[in-house]
Amino acid sequence: MHYGMCCLCVLQPRAVNVDLQTDATLQVDISDALSERDKVKFTVHTKSTLPNFKQNEFSVVRQHEEFIWLHDSFVENEDYAGYIIPPAPPRPDFDASREKLQKLGEGEGSMTKEEFTKMKQELEAEYLAIFKKTVAMHEVFLCRVAAHPVLRKDLNFHVFLEYNQDLSVRGKNKKEKLEDFFKNVVKSADGVLVAGVKDVDDFFEHEKTFLLEYHNRVKDASAKSDKMIRSHKSAADDINRIASSLYTLGTPAMFKFEFEFTSSVVESGLLRFCFIALQKIEARVAADEDLKLADLLKYYLRESQAAKDLLYRRSRALVDYENANKALDKARAKNRDVLQAETSQQLCCHKFEKISESAKQELIDFKTRRVAAFRKNLVELAELELKHAKGNLQLLQSCLGVLKGNT
């Protein structure tokens, strides 16, 4: 099955709210998206009053790899070492959904037309949900960049937004992926070493301990919430199947020979409707939990990782600075290459101080963002759960009213 969905005229509220300041000077959003067989094409739409853009409003089409390229260019830029780099959006993953749709197509002969249509609708809804989520993730990334006072001025970012040709950014080939892998290994080993270095500054020491623990806890919570939501979806699927069975049990064919059972036909129809509605509500509950809770946790898993990376870079700079100090002392003692050592030490000092300064602000902002995001999502989660429970309750009570009234 080939799905080309062109949708999203109205973007749903962002899955993860990062409470961004949108100001008129630069507004970025994803106005449209197209899902093709193995890639997704995002239409990135920009509105800006900044002089460096040729027009005030324009759009380009970008793919996932180009987002990753942009993200990596930030990470590799030494000037941005002191900032929390907004985490890259996850790769669009429709494999599971596509597989399910394919299996459904193969099994078409073995189920009734009604079952088939129903399952197809559900799988399509699932596909659409995943699609919307991936669009939201990509959009959030761009918005975070646009909201950042320094990153929004980045040249690569402007190219990304404006250049209406293909950026010819290819995905990393095997060799590069291997290099990345080793870099990460080295980094984590290094990170352990660096983490051991006690920080003089209380603020950073506290942040280090906090982030380490927080990151792990978020990881755990994210995994557990995923599991919980999956069970919820399975239960919703079961209710769906029950509704189908009740439908067949309630058809007139089952009762046609007895007049007194006609009321039961109505009741069975009612029951079936009840179960179908229950299932829809359960499915929506699961979907909302997914959106408000699971996605939130996943996002902050990535952001806390980015914050940890910042701390790592700072510690790395600190270590470099301390090493440069030691080298300077040695050079002075030996009275050799003093100037070189002095310049080097000054550079390290400057770098470290610059990172420390911006890092402090970044981490404070991170906390503010995090608290705001959790607040918004938890409130929305509670409100949605209430809405669904109340809806369920009403449905069940009216159903019961009819059933009991008919006895």
Partner: protein, 509 residues
């Protein structure tokens, strides 16, 4: 001669004896009216031997008691002897199957058998509405090791006149229930009554209990069984004919009950049962009945469909129970994780909110657990019961086929004998001829009886099926209502929890 039966009077479980006895006694002062209609509710059955069966088909099916005598005997006593555990000793066998049956045997409810006019009986019938509640409770382990068993307390609360007291209880074990079912099945199944099946044996489950494993799964097993036994008894007594059966009454009332040994799976009776079942299955395949009554064909198809649908539904509900239990476990784990997250969060208000979230999720996980139990006990078990009941219904249809076959066989045999007699006419063997004529007369009687049996079982089945369907619809409705009410409660609790949480979330600043 075998006549169809409605309800064997006390002591008539001793079939063989009776059948012979019947033939010895001259035709009792049986009222000329024959044959009460089939079914439901009361069962007085009668029969007159011999050709007085004209009024076999009662025009008014609701007319229960055309007759008040009881003479009973059952078909194929040999087979039934194997199935039945024999007469319940508390009931002393009565010998004379005459119409003058004194209430005897200490059961007050036998007076119905002595009513000579059916008006009286009908009145009694009408006045005695079904009002009975049986509960199975207090499972208690008795004994030790592999000989241990669970004893259940069976309490009956009733206002019906059929019982001596209004509230009484006895102790029974699982094999007692199986024994009861076995007796009822042997008496009623082959005349077309749908006898509710007993709960299934479970060697694994019981072994765990015997061995003394006191864990949750064996507790669940005992609870599941207790609930199943309760439903079984309620279903049995709801059947108007079975309710009056002496075995049922004895089961509910008398404090001593002989052990039903032939219910053990590996006993010789058990093995014989299995062999018979296999033989039956083969026979079923070879019987090709000319169905003259479209109703039966339609119904059989209907039950086949119902069977398939119910099994499907049952499977889905079982799956739901499983997933809800899983959901409960996962929610609990998430709750713990959220609590940890709350602990590590350094913003105080957010930290508190996350802890609250954890608490809410913990309560919700308990809700899911409770809901899963409701799913199971209300919904899933009911469906399981009905899947087994449908099998019993199908069995009853099969019996009808067998009855038909028997009738056909007698007819064919009669035909052969007639041909043989015709041939004998031309030979000079007067005694052989006489013998042939006698045999023919006997066979003619058999054929007529066979036809009557067939008509009777068909009638019974019609009534039974109608009753079954009514009950099924009622049953489902009751259970569904209960189930929906449990769902309502869950939602109400959810609303409470989330409403308590919302201000905490809003308080984050």
């Amino acid at each position: 001669m075998a006549d169809s039966t409605k309800d064997p009077p006390p002591g008539c479980a001793d079939l063989q004896e009776l059948e012979d006895a019947e033939e010895l006694f001259p035709e009792p002062a049986a009222p000329p009216e024959s044959e009460p209609a089939s079914l439901p509710a009361e069962d007085i059955s009668t029969n007159s031997n011999g050709p007085k069966q004209d009024l076999l088909f009662d025009e008014d099916p609701e007319d229960l008691f055309a007759e008040a005598t009881e003479e009973v005997s059952l078909d194929s006593p040999e087979r039934d002897l194997l199935l039945s555990d024999g007469p319940s000793p508390a009931i002393t066998p009565i010998t004379p199957p005459t119409s003058v049956i004194t209430p005897c045997i200490g059961h007050a409810h036998d007076d119905m058998f002595t009513h000579s006019s059916f008006d009286e009986i009908e009145e009694e019938e009408g006045g005695d509405l079904f009002d009975m509640n049986i509960s199975v409770s207090d499972p208690e382990k008795v004994g030790d090791g592999m000989n241990a068993y669970m004893a259940y307390k069976v309490t009956t609360k009733t206002s019906m006149s059929v019982f001596k007291r209004t509230e009484f209880s006895v102790k029974r074990r699982f094999s007692d229930f199986l024994g009861l079912h076995s007796k009822l099945a042997s008496k009623y199944l082959h005349v077309g009554y749908i006898v509710p099946p007993a709960p299934e044996k479970s060697i694994v489950g019981m072994t765990k209990v015997k061995v003394g494993k006191e864990d949750q799964s064996s507790n669940e097993f005992v609870e599941k069984r207790r609930s199943a036994l309760e439903r079984y008894l309620m279903r049995t007594v709801k059947h108007p004919v079975l309710l009056k059966d002496p075995d049922v009454l004895q089961f509910l009332e008398s404090s001593d009950l002989p052990r039903a040994v032939s219910t053990q799976a590996l006993s010789s009776a058990g093995l014989l049962r299995m062999v018979n079942k296999a033989a039956d299955a083969v026979n079923k395949m070879t019987i090709k009945m000319n169905e003259s009554d479209a109703w039966f064909e339609e119904k059989q198809q209907h039950f086949e469909n119902l069977d398939v649908q119910l099994r499907k539904l049952h499977a889905s509900v079982e799956s739901l129970v499983c997933h809800r239990k899983e959901l409960s476990v996962n929610t609990a784990q998430f709750a713990k994780s959220a609590a940890m997250l709350g602990n590590s969060e350094d913003h105080t208000a957010l930290s508190r909110a996350l802890s609250q979230l954890a608490e809410v999720e913990e309560k919700i996980d308990q809700l899911h657990q409770d809901q899963a139990n409701a799913d199971f006990y209300l919904f899933s078990e009911l469906l399981g019961d009905y899947v087994r009941l449908i099998t019993a219904v199908k069995g009853v249809f099969d019996h009808r086929m067998k009855t038909w076959q028997k009738w056909q066989d007698s007819q064919m045999l009669l035909q052969k004998k007639r041909e043989a007699e015709a041939k004998l006419q031309f030979t000079n063997k007067p005694d052989k001829l006489q013998q042939a004529k006698d045999e023919i007369k006997e066979l003619e009687g058999k054929v007529q009886q066979g036809e009557r049996d067939f008509e009777q079982i068909s009638k019974t089945i019609r009534k039974e099926v109608s009753r079954f369907e009514k009950d099924r619809v009622k049953d489902f409705k009751t259970i569904i209502i209960k189930y929906l009410e449990s769902l309502v409660q869950t939602q109400q609790q959810l609303i409470k929890y989330w409403e308590a949480f919302l201000p905490e979330a809003k308080a984050i600043s």
